[in-house]
């Protein structure tokens, strides 16, 4: 069995993949079988064409297979413990991406909107500082730069302590 297949069986609500995703399809899957859902909140992260004042031509995402899925599942479980949720999914893309491409999807459903809003925000803040992904930018002239971790992301995580 391919390692990716093993991971997807172990963590059915976590996907780390090169392929793009479709928001409508994912939200429909998230709601399937949950007739008591009254709220769905989704967040889609996309590739900017500018970072730290520089034009970005390509963004490459590297990760730590095995640990990534485990870390994302831990964050998802933590969200379910903190708020009453019906379902949730996290999709993160890896490999080469280009400006305007989608990188990450977090979607959660709950009976009432407040839980879904909070949980989606929490999952994204924790993903930023706890899931082992690394971004490398390539500029139009071909130069490369590893993206530095932001202090603002560390601060964003703290608000949930």
């Amino acid at each position: 069995m391919a390692p990716e297949t093993q991971q997807s069986l172990k963590y059915p609500n976590i996907r780390v993949q090169e392929e793009d995703f479709d928001l409508s399809t994912e939200v429909a899957k998230l709601r399937e079988g949950h007739t008591d859902v009254g709220a769905v909140v989704s967040f889609v992260g996309t590739v900017r064409d500018i970072n730290e004042g520089d034009d970005v031509a390509v963004l490459e995402l590297e990760h730590y297979p095995g640990m990534t899925e485990k870390a994302l599942e831990n964050i998802r479980q933590e969200a379910h413990q903190r708020w009453e949720l019906e379902s949730s999914v996290i999709i993160h893309r890896i490999g080469k991406m280009y400006p305007t491409d989608q990188i990450v999807l977090v979607a959660v459903s709950s009976r009432h909107r407040e839980n879904a809003f909070y949980a989606a925000h929490f999952i994204m803040d924790y993903l930023k500082t706890n899931a082992p992904f690394w971004k490398k930018e390539t500029f139009p002239n071909g130069e490369e730069r590893w993206v530095d971790a932001r202090l603002s992301d560390q601060e964003a995580e703290k608000r949930w302590k």
Binding site: Y64, M67, L127, A131, P132, D148, A149
Partner: protein, 82 residues
């Protein structure tokens, strides 16, 4: 043996993604001390680096974390996903 992994800028700076090392260390700290003797880039990345991130068997770890034969130890810079 211990499986040691290096990610992102570490992989580039140290020139390797992974290696098998004898399980002759009981903590991450002692493993780092040995690796740091390989040269200035190893010392800078692992020993002198206040932002060093460590994982043992896919869980977040630190320098004091104990290691044994069969473990997977990973070193990497702060994460930047999302």
């Amino acid at each position: 043996m211990v499986n040691v992994l290096y990610f992102a800028s570490f992989r580039e700076m140290l020139g390797k993604a992974s290696e098998q090392l004898p399980a002759s260390h009981t903590t991450v700290e002692s493993l780092i001390a040995e690796l740091a003797e390989r040269g200035e880039n190893w010392k800078q990345a692992l020993l002198d680096n206040q932002n060093l991130q460590i994982a043992v068997n896919h869980d977040v770890a630190n320098r004091q974390t104990e290691i044994k034969a069969g473990d997977e130890v990973a070193f990497f810079p702060p994460v930047t996903g999302g």
